[in-house]
């Protein structure tokens, strides 16, 4: 079988060790790599000094949930329909609804959530609850600091979810 000329691939090889080529390999390439390192010494560090500094989050970041009230009436937006619980793939939401007392309303509709609990130890922060909610009563907030010493402390009740959270995490600015 003969080899045709176009089938021959010439493999270029580096300079032989020793001599000029050897010196380049030892120092030149090293210096070339160090150039990146050296240039970084004169730019601002990207390290965030957590926990003194917080990582800024994107507006659509899915952190700890929040429940909302109507701004004008102060009534809870949640009517306890349980759709969030149905949508939840981790089954971490428990809703027990009850009937509103017209004298002492909790929510706008006939029913309200007497119990609303999210087990954050189970939550996978998928945001399906937010999607399922027909009243925009539950949204994913920006809070991501939820570590605790106790599993049961990770069950957030309605009062905890309704409370105005301490905004620890800054929002990422445009273009940041």
């Amino acid at each position: 079988m003969s080899v045709r000329p176009e089938e021959i691939t010439v493999v270029p090889r580096g300079p032989e060790p020793g001599g000029k080529g050897g010196a380049y390999r030892a120092f030149g390439e090293t210096l070339r790599g160090l150039r990146t390192t050296m240039s970084q010494m004169f730019t601002k560090p990207v390290t965030i000094q957590y926990p003194e500094e917080k990582t800024p989050v994107y507006p659509r970041f899915r952190g700890r949930h929040r429940l909302h009230r109507f701004e004008d009436t102060g009534l809870e937006k949640c009517v306890g329909c349980s759709l969030c619980a149905a949508a939840c793939p981790a089954q971490c939401i428990r809703v027990v609804a009850a009937e509103n007392d017209p004298e002492n309303r909790v929510s706008a509709g006939e029913r309200y959530a007497a119990v609303y609990e999210i087990n954050l130890a189970r939550c996978i922060f998928c945001g399906y609850c937010e999607l399922a909610c027909p009243f925009d009563a539950i949204t994913m907030g920006h809070d991501y600091e939820m570590a605790d010493y106790n599993r049961s402390d990770l069950i957030f009740t309605k009062e905890m979810l309704l409370a105005e959270p301490i905004e620890r995490a800054p929002l990422r600015r445009e273009g940041e």
Partner: protein, 875 residues
Amino acid sequence: MPRTQPNRITLTIDGREIEADEGTMLVDAAREGDVEIPVFCYEPKLGEPVGACRMCLVEIEGIPKLQTSCSTPVRDGMVVHTRTDQVKEAQESVVEFLLVNHPLDCPVCDKGGECPLQDISMGWGPDRNRMVDQKRHFEKPVPLSPLVAIDRERCILCYRCVRFSQEVSEDEQLQLLERGDATFVGTFDDRPYIAPFQGNITELCPVGALTSYTYRFRARPWDIEQGGSVCTLCPSQCNVSFTVRDEQVARVLARDNPEVDDGWLCDKGRYAFQAMYADDRVLGPEVTSDGHSTPASWQEAEETAAEGLASAGSRTAILVGDASNEEGYLLQRILRQALGSGDIDSRRGPGVDGDAALKLADPAISAQTSDIDTADLVIVVGTDPIQSAPSFDLRVRKAVRRNGTALAVASDRPGALEGGATEVVRFPPGGAPAFLEELAGKVKRGRAKTGLAGLIADSEQTVIVWGERIVQGAGGRAAVEALVELSEAAGLADQEGSGLIGIPDNANGRGLREVGCLPDAGPGLSPTGPGRDAGAIREGLESGELEAVVLFGVDPIRDLPDPEGWRRALEAAGHVVAFSLARNESTEFADVLLPLESHAEKDGTVTHPDGRIQRVRPSARRPGEVRPVWQVLTELAAMLGSSTGITSTPEALEAVASAVPFYAGLTDSEIGGRGVRWQERPAAKDLGTPSPDLTLYATAPGPFSPLGSGAAGLEADEASVLEPASGVGRSHTDSSGGTTPPSSVSDLPTPKDGQLLLGTYPNLWADQVVESSPALRFLVPAQRLEISGPDATRLGLSTGDEVSVRSGEESVNARVAVRAAMPEGACFLIEGTPADNGNRVAGEDGGPTLVEIGPPEVRLELVTSGGGPEGDEAA
């Protein structure tokens, strides 16, 4: 008319060949062939289709216009299309029209997630609504009744609830008011809808317009689990499905079983689940020492109970009320095998004894519940099903309305079914035996052309529904003979679908009899030596001949005749072991109080009045310390020295099946979800064969008869004392020997001047579970004295007067209710009311008695709160 086998025909739906019975509606045939046609108003349980909602329109080849498939019967060779453009357009329009006035508040609506309108809108509706105008508005939600809320904005006017009220329960209270788009469902003059079956409308409603107050906003379909079981609150034993959330029952739904309940449920069965979580529920074992009842461990409680029973030995008696077959079997086995006594009773008074039960259980003369549907003639004797077994009431109404069945009602007290009856016979309280004898005689002679006997002669398929009350009391034995004679004369045995259905007093009365909870019959109705019946047990306890008593799911001070006697008896008893669901007057006397499981927690079997063995299955968690009762009973048996070897519920059923010859080979899987009638199993031929268990009892330390030798632990003189005492219980056993002719029925007491003959009747709502259920509390009856018009005039009484009813030393206060159609010279009181219990003045054996009516007694009421000056002021 006997059931006929319909022809099978073939039709084509959407290109599929489908086989169906001739005459079925197209929509049902399609469902059989896995083609779904959406429907709103169609519900076969409600009777004839009305074609009101137009949701089920389909195209049938050869008919130019679309047809409603719910009201079009199938024909051979029919070609149907359900997915053409024309059909699709029609379906979308119907949904769009329905949504014109329907508020889209699904997240708030209680039906959300289990709503047919939601499903159909998603499946067959257009994806958007063009409605931009105001929808109609009503005040909402408003109470339609104390149990049901109505939201008229959500109503789509499918007529289902109205049809139920008009054509099924026939209370005729729900109406469609106004016309056109102003139409709404309501009652005349906005009166509350009070009817014993109203809960069914919440289940029928295809939208969230009718909701139960007990379940409003409690849970969503994805929060819950459904557990099928059987309701054991009355002998109807309707099939139910418990909605369980967080391991607690939140709702009770009907579970369709055409052979038992037809898919309906009464309000007691639907709402009395609340009693399971009431404050008066016994949550753990308690032992009384020094007059104080204190919670105890199961070990301690069982040991104390066993110790007391062992020391009483054969001087122990057992009263059984609400129990499953397994529990009843274990109880009688403990008594007969370990304690050597035979004093066990599951009845209110002397009634159907072993021998009578055996005669009446003959499969040839037994009908099944669904036979009522097709019968030519239904005779209801001595019972008012609405009070004693409500689903039978609907069943009979259905037969009369849809099948043209002739109905004859023969009773002492005017009942609810009489409105639709062809023939009504009234006899005085206790007069049933005489009536039956006369009827049997007439039918036998066969010359009657008119009246009830004429109806029987004309009818091919006859079903006789009789209440256990007619075989109780003085003429009971004669009544049984007459019933058997009547069924022979009427030829019930020869005609398929004819027969007797006996409605017992107890929810599982039939099952308890068949597993041996009778003083004179062991498992399988095999005769044993006579023991004491309930009345004789009371006397025995009072006189000290009996020392210990086990009360199982029964509150004798409330449920049985002579409550004062029972109070004395329990006080005199040396050792009282009470198994009870809830605290009551009788449990106050308990030395050991053990909790029972409710019917949502129990695992066992029960026997329907028509012989259908059904499974009660656990679906909710047992609260507190409550344990499976069969376990407790097997442990007690082992402590008393007769180990049963039962370690699981299937084994418990196996033990019952091997002890009762005609239950032989019964297993859980054979019973399944729908139950199985033992009369239809091959083992039914063993009816009357002695139970193999009897050998066990024969080797027990003492014979069953308290009259037996000294081995029973009785002194000779004691035995002679006992004879008259237990005479009440013994009289029927004697009469079966032929000493008393059955024609003792004419021995009814004759009222003297100013006296009336008192009969008592069970009221569906006079029950502790009703009082313990907040939703039903408004139905708890106050005592009322039903009296005929002429008697009222003679005594100068009118409806609403307060009177006292006196019999001997006992008297109760009641309000007078003058009723038409009452037998003259008779009056009626309710049994088991919380105050002024009619049982107090009833005859000692629960039969009729003579009473005098007088001015109301001044009641000395205990002022429980505070007392002293405040108490005086209140008085």
